[in-house]
């Protein structure tokens, strides 16, 4: 149950942790866009270098970051194999052929690029979630979506629902562990029998979990009421987010990387060294 890593925040103090969450969120979105502009291996190398620098700056142990890749390892392998096996493009660069299995060089290159792209897509946001608490993230989201409140979208309410939900995930996981232990102590078995039996075996866990979630929700509502919570209107913040100089540097740094990526892809100025970095268009 401990693998539920939505709240995978890694507590430490670093310049990346201190960045304004709004800036981090916007940059994370821009980063994802950037990945799709990368076409060459040297571009991917640049992407990985960027991530490496971020991880080093954030003081999160690199193994912790790689852990997020472990979960999608299967997806990466699966897409790689499928792309290689079902590529039906070129005909002249056949590397290996046996009956209906044909492996082309172009397919291998495309599949590798796709795998690299998925890795980058996962690594970037996990740096974000490792260095930003879920509460900071929802706050940032609320602030960024503020214009939508003008057209009567309940932005604040959505944000508070999200932060409460995120806050309760670890609590519920802990609760689930406790209930599972208690039922196991009464000789409940969760890992035997067919699928229907197993689903039924979960009832003694799910029912108490539901009951306690309702109880918690009730108590929380009372607690919020008793502290005069009235929704967004007239509410001030304890932590006011202010942009600092480091946020400017972060934006500028990211823009530089984005620009480098675009340059590698489009070579607007016709630099001679760029084709050299991407031999054969790879």
């Amino acid at each position: 149950m401990r693998d539920v890593s939505i709240g995978q925040y890694y507590q430490t103090d670093s310049v990346i942790h201190r960045l304004d969450p709004r800036v981090k969120l916007v940059l994370a979105v821009a980063y994802i866009v950037m990945i799709f502009f990368i076409v060459s291996f040297i571009g991917y190398a640049l992407g990985f270098l960027f991530i490496l620098i971020l991880v080093l700056l954030s003081r999160v142990p690199p193994l912790q970051v790689l852990r997020s890749l472990r979960m999608i390892l299967f997806l990466i392998i699966f897409t790689f194999v499928l792309t290689v096996l079902f590529y039906r493009g070129g005909g002249d660069d056949l590397l290996f052929g046996w009956q209906f299995i044909k492996i082309y060089k172009t397919a291998l290159i495309n599949a590798s690029k796709m795998a690299l792209r998925i890795m980058l897509l996962v690594l970037g946001p996990s740096v974000l979630t490792l260095t930003t608490t879920p509460v900071e993230l929802t706050d940032a989201l609320e602030r960024l979506l503020w214009p939508l409140a003008k057209i009567k979208l309940p932005v604040h309410e959505l944000a508070i629902i999200m932060s409460i939900a995120l806050r309760l995930i670890p609590t519920l996981v802990e609760e689930t562990d406790k209930i599972i232990s208690a039922q196991k102590a009464r000789c409940a078995e969760f890992d035997s029998g067919n699928i229907f039996k197993r689903a039924k075996a979960l009832l003694p866990v799910l029912i108490p979990l539901f009951v306690s979630s309702f109880r918690r929700a009730d108590e929380l509502a009372f607690a919020m009421d008793s502290r005069c919570y009235r929704g967004a209107v007239g509410r001030t913040r304890m932590k006011v987010m202010r942009l600092a100089l480091r946020d400017l540097f972060a934006v500028l740094g990211f823009c530089a990387v984005f620009f480098a990526v675009l340059l590698l892809t489009y070579n607007w100025f016709g630099f001679g060294f760029i084709p050299l970095l991407t031999p054969g268009g790879y």
């Binding site: 609760e175 232990s181 208690a182 102590a185 009464r186 000789c187 009832l203 108490p208 306690s212």
Partner: protein
């Protein structure tokens, strides 16, 4: 020898930045018929130790033997083990789930594949053992009972497996004084008639002192000592070092002894305290009688006052403030 642990150590999430040593070389023996109290601050490893006794937490290093079963092998007869060691967790009422009290209590025995008519009998037996009216509650939903009743039903659910050893993790947490007294009474009854060996984790020294014959003190994952209450609560050095509170009865005894009453300081049970006070008063009277009959007469009249002391002792902690 129902429970033996030897050099038992346990680390949560080993080989990770979050690794935490929860148990550190615990060697402990719990004999048949013991009522063992386990005390220690939050995070001292009490619950981790208890979790080992029915293999909810598996042995990492060291050895655990429960009722002759070695708990080290990966494959175990979990059903046998878990029906031998009944485990009652904190707030056990949160584990109730079934549509009726009867079915909920029968959950354990059903998992043990016991024939239906025997289950019915066990359910009746354990509901009566926890002081509930079998006919009155059996068809009711466990969710419509009161807090104290729910806890009893949860306890009955564990007793229905007829354990030989009962492990209780803070059985009185969150109950009012009356509910606490009732649950403790019930635990004493269970120990007497059903399940001879009881291990109780608690933060309440009054409960521990009044019921246990041995107390294990845990601190930072290590077992500090196992002592009978009379000895533990007179060891000022231990109490101070590990921040253990004295039970109200011992505090009263100490306060009275400080003021010159001739009673032992190691008293831990209310009845013993009252008896000691009465004896001390009588002794004082006897000593006084030959010399000054007049004062003795007065002292004799004073004896009923011991009732006031008895009341004070009964009320426990709140009253002893005046003695400090």
């Amino acid at each position: 020898m129902p429970i033996v642990t030897e050099q038992l150590s346990y680390v949560y999430s080993p080989k990770s930045p979050f690794a935490k040593q929860a148990l550190n070389g615990v060697t402990l023996t719990v004999a048949d018929g013991d009522f063992l109290g386990v005390i220690g601050h939050t995070g001292s490893g009490k619950s981790t130790l208890a979790g080992h006794f029915n293999a909810l937490i598996r042995v990492q290093s060291g050895r655990v033997e429960v009722d002759g079963i070695d708990l080290r092998p990966k494959k175990l007869d979990f059903k046998l083990l878990r029906s031998t060691v009944g485990m009652v967790f904190q707030y056990p009422e949160y584990q109730l789930f079934d549509e009726s009290v009867e079915r909920d209590v029968g959950f354990g025995p059903r998992n043990l594949k016991i024939p239906p008519d025997e289950i019915a009998e066990r359910v009746r037996e354990s509901l009566e053992m926890v002081g509930l009216d079998y006919e009155g509650v059996r068809r009711r939903s466990p969710f419509e009972l009161s807090g104290g009743q729910k806890r009893r039903v949860a306890l009955a659910g564990v007793l229905a497996m007829r354990p030989k050893i009962l492990v209780l993790d803070e059985p009185t947490a969150g109950l009012d004084p009356r509910g606490k007294a009732e649950i403790l009474e019930l635990i004493r009854r269970v120990k007497k008639y059903m399940c001879p060996t009881v291990i109780m984790i608690s933060h309440n020294m009054d409960e521990i002192a009044a019921n246990c014959n041995k107390i294990a003190v845990m601190s930072g994952g290590s077992l500090v000592c196992v002592l009978p209450p009379e000895e533990l609560f007179t060891r000022g050095d231990l109490l101070k070092e590990h921040g253990i509170e004295m039970p109200a009865v011992t505090r009263i005894a100490n306060a009275l002894a400080d003021r010159g009453l001739d009673i032992p300081r190691s008293l831990v049970r209310e009845d013993d305290l009252v008896a000691a006070i009465v004896a001390a008063k009588r002794g004082a009277i006897k000593a006084a009688t030959p010399a000054k009959p007049e004062r003795a007469q007065k002292a004799e009249n004073n004896i009923p006052h011991t009732d006031a002391v008895k009341d004070a002792a009964k009320k426990g902690g709140d009253e002893c403030v005046t003695f400090r």
